[in-house]
Amino acid sequence: MYRLKEGHINSQSLFRILVILVVSNIFLGTPGAMVEEGATAGWILLLFAGAIAGAGIFILIKLLKKFPGKNFIEIAETLWGRPGAVFTALSFGILAVYTAIISLREFAETMLTTVLPRTPISVVTFFFVAAMLLGAYKGLEVIGRTSILLLPFVIGGIFTILFLAGNYISLNNLFPLLGTGLGELAYHAPGRSSIFIEIILVSLIVSNISDIENIPRATWKAFGVSLTVFIVVEIFYISIFRVATSEKLYVPLFQMARIIYMGRFIQRIEAIFIFIWFFTGALKLTLALYAGATALSRGFRIPIYQPLLFPLGLLTFSLSFVPPDIITAVRIDMLYLREYGAIPAWGLPLALLATSFIRKKGGGRPEKSQPD
């Protein structure tokens, strides 16, 4: 067993990390994609997707409880042997790095579209990558503490925008109630459960959490809070912009912030939002890189993950330029990552749990985590 010097966090930090990871999806194309597929029922589609993601999380937690203190790759090794562990680590690592690549391009592009139109994209991307590398190098403790600081601002910032843009709301815009219809919603829900796949990070860092008995509670709480925030934002988004407009807008919360007008003195407040948005983006990218490096180091038995950061960071930086434009980047995100990402994310835990039942393995005692 290799000792990875990554630091430890408690379940409270885990909760905050997971919320920020999932909620960061609100800032980009997800709310618009929900409207495209669900029309006025975009928020119901989220409920359906949430139900499927909830089932995935239930399986994941069941698996983690069956193998207390073991992370995903160790569980895979126990059940499927070395090839299984390598396969799981590669799947996990590729998914994490892929998320980092697409998110990096999307965050950089939207930064250019909204506030920095004349700055070269390579410069914006460079700063994001620098933040990613620094954060991931410092490890989970630093990421956890940053999340503790950041989460109140993220949630507070989102609800402030919703509250101040509230005078544009018309609940009539949420009708016809069933949007594209129950059949369509059910058809799109499994794919769209991919919005919540970031939750599976918990399975990778389980051995870095000091109070493992609280992991299920923290995970469910994070899922519940994220889903609630997502649904509230979606309801506001549709009832402010209506279906026809909301399916076309990029960066929905930024657009909401831009229309805020509470008399002469409260307007043009989107600048505050930019800071929240940048830090959330940077933290999400940091976690994606960290997850990718950790998964690969654990899968390939590299004692520490830090040496993998620079190559993965460089890879992320380079590959983020592969999509020729913002449309392609958003499309790759919404059509692939947020459509098929659910397959490995919920499929792997299910396969592992099924194997454990078939082979009647698991149920071991938790290994007590020790501080470095």
Binding site: T40, P117, R118, N173, P176, L178, A244, T245, R258
Partner: protein, 431 residues
């Protein structure tokens, strides 16, 4: 100790580097290098071009000089003196910005644009080609005020010379505010217009703005009384207010669109009815004829007591729309000696007269909207509540159904306060 010094040195270098970077690099834009557009006018031009008029602030002249009173609003307007008005023909707004930069000597910046004025001929032709740029452009925001001018926009912008305000930005903010304080226009923002114009359930509206050609007339005795005034109706729109002096530009009335095309203009009274019907009447002063003494009028300040209660029955043909409105008001002016303030029987009679007046006004606006085929009230949004799915709603074809719909409006009006006086002063006829 040496390690500590090294760490401190790294921190100091990092902080200094960050300080240098904070001022920006590529996107650094100095204030003195930019020309801030306060208002933009758009007219059609030959060969599919547009004529874009910019009112650009001259900060160095802002607040200097004295406002000249009277004289039809004019030469002494500080706002006009502290801004530059220029028009340029171009295929699109961005190309107009580029061309204007060619002689304004600064980068034109649209971030502080308060209003966009569309020329009436252009608006009647359809503004679809403009809407893409207005929503896509990062410098323009959804709370830009949208107006249609009688005639060409460039002519109106030329004649707009505010008397009281030293800046056009402040002037436009003031105009915007009058939607809630006086209900003389619909107060439409770009955000409202785009979302409504794209929707099937409601159509877009804009403020109707015009130059009053009589404003330069110095003799009030020559003013003509609009016929509607005798029926206690303010049946005038921008350009028709009987008055002398002040800024020649007026902002009273509503430009009603069907999709992207201007199709009709509502007067002040009609605008109030529209605001009342769609639940946006925050405060308005209305006048009704005294129910017991002909030729005498009663003034009231009214507001919406609760949001409108709208029911749309889509199961019958024609569709039945029933709207219940609850309004309340305070007595402001009574011209007859009838005691409407403390005599409850009289008060109920006045309330009934107001209800009838408001109902007739509302039905008349709805009829006008039905004739032009524009559901500017948004009854379609209520109809969509009766349909379960989006594809079914798209197939329903509400705009056609609205044209022939049967509409019933029921107003419930209550007098809440009677002003600073109980009974009327006992000095008039008949004692």
């Amino acid at each position: 100790m040496a390690g500590l010094k090294k760490v401190s040195l790294i921190k100091i270098i990092t902080l200094l580097t960050v300080t240098l970077l904070i001022s920006g690099c590529w996107d650094r834009r100095e204030l003195e290098d930019q020309a801030f557009v306060q208002v933009m006018g758009i007219d059609k031009a030959p060969h599919n071009q547009i004529l874009v008029t910019f009112r650009i602030a001259i900060p160095s002249k802002a607040g200097l000089g004295q406002t000249a009173g009277g004289g039809g609003g004019g030469e002494g307007s500080v706002a006009a003196q502290s801004s530059l008005l220029t028009s340029v023909i171009a295929p699109t707004i961005p190309s107009a910005v580029t061309l204007a930069s060619g002689y304004v000597n600064r980068d034109l910046n649209l971030m502080h644009t308060k209003a966009i004025v569309l020329g009436e001929p252009f608006a009647r032709e359809g503004i679809a080609r403009l809407l893409g740029i207005l929503t896509r452009h990062r410098e323009l925001r959804g709370n830009v005020f949208m107006c249609v001018s009688e005639g060409e926009a460039y002519k109106l912008l030329e004649q707009n010379k505010p008397d009281l305000e030293k800046s056009f930005a402040k002037w436009w903010e003031g105009v915007k505010q009058l939607q809630s304080s006086q209900a003389i226009h619909p107060g439409s923002l770009l955000q409202d217009f785009i979302t409504n114009a794209e929707s099937l359930g409601i159509e877009g509206t804009m403020l109707y703005i015009a130059v009053n050609k009589e404003a330069k007339n110095q003799d009030p005795a020559k003013l003509r009384v609009p016929p509607s005034f005798e029926q206690a109706k303010l049946g005038v729109k921008s350009g028709e207010i009987p008055r002398t002096g002040g800024n020649a530009v007026e902002y009273v009335g509503t430009a009603v669109f069907k999709s992207d095309k201007l199709i009709s203009v509502l007067t002040l009274t009609e605008t109030r009815s529209l605001l009342m019907l769609n639940g946006q009447l925050r405060r308005a002063v209305i006048t009704v004829e005294d129910p017991r003494v002909k030729g005498r009028y009663t003034g009231l300040e009214i507001k919406q007591g609760s949001p409108p209660n709208v029911k749309v029955n889509i199961d019958r043909d024609p569709v039945l729309i029933e709207e219940k409105l609850s309004l309340e008001g305070d007595l402001l002016a009574l011209q007859s000696a009838i005691n409407y303030a403390t005599d409850l029987k009289n008060q109920r009679m006045l309330e009934a007269a107001i209800e009838k007046d408001l109902e007739e006004g509302a039905l008349s606006v709805i009829k006008k909207l039905q004739q032009s085929g524009s559901d500017a009230v948004g009854y379609g949004d209520y109809a969509s509540r009766r349909i379960l799915t989006w594809p079914a709603w798209l197939d329903y074809d509400w705009p056609t159904k609205f044209k022939t719909a049967e509409v019933k409006v029921d107003v419930d009006f209550s007098i809440r306060r009677t002003g600073m006086l109980g009974k009327q002063p006992n000095v008039w006829e008949p004692r």
